[in-house]
């Protein structure tokens, strides 16, 4: 919990510094936002790792397909990066770039999900074939 409190204090400090810098130097303020977000996510990763390991444990115990779970986790990772990047673009006043990044990430997620959909179609085909 010490880590969490330190991160909260750090982010609040960074926000105040951002207010000082943003008035005259918007470029540096965007980079400051980027640096803070990068650090917070890096700290979050330490707590996310055991969660992901637990998910893999459940997958092993439930005898689920590892490939499908890997796709889901990759989609989560892409979503995380995209969300942060889009918000930073919005803060910098350039929503257009953020939207184009969203379109790209949506396309990548759908592309990565194609094997899952193919598996589903095969399953439906098998089920409907036996009816």
């Amino acid at each position: 919990m010490d880590v969490f409190l330190k991160v909260v204090a750090g982010v609040l400090t960074a926000v105040i510094l951002w207010l000082c810098v943003n008035k005259d130097n918007k470029g540096t303020s965007v980079l400051l936002t980027l640096a803070v977000c990068t650090m917070v996510i890096s700290v979050s990763a330490v707590f996310l790792r055991p969660i992901i390991d637990f998910i893999y444990k459940i997958q092993f115990l439930g005898d689920l397909d590892e490939d499908l779970l890997a796709v889901v986790l990759k989609v989560v990772g892409i979503g995380l990066l995209t969300e942060i990047s889009v918000m930073i673009c919005k803060d910098a006043g350039n929503e257009t770039m953020g939207k184009s990044l969203q379109i790209l990430s949506s396309a990548v997620v759908i592309w990565m999900s194609i094997p899952v959909f193919e598996r589903l179609l095969t399953l439906l085909d098998n089920i409907l074939g036996t009816i």
Binding site: L17, D24, F60
Partner: protein, 77 residues
């Protein structure tokens, strides 16, 4: 069961000093920018701003690279 390597995620410290450095550079650059602008040296003010941006970008670039590597390893991208 999928096994993950140990010791590849160690970042429990939020580097506050980097945040203060970036903020300090931003404040110094904006002060220099104002001083140079008011003394009629617009080009030098612009160059100072650009230099400050590049310096901060170089400081942040490594962190961004580390973040991407971290997310790649965490979510197996």
């Amino acid at each position: 069961m999928r096994r993950r390597g140990a010791g590849d995620l160690v970042c429990l410290n939020m580097e506050i000093d980097l945040i203060f450095k970036i903020a300090a550079i931003g404040i110094i650059v904006s002060i220099l920018n104002q001083v140079l602008s008011r003394s009629g040296r617009e080009e030098q003010a612009t160059m100072t701003t650009l230099t400050g941006l590049v310096v901060v970008l170089m400081m942040v670039a490594q962190k961004i690279f580390d973040l991407f590597e971290l997310v790649k390893r965490l979510f197996d991208l």
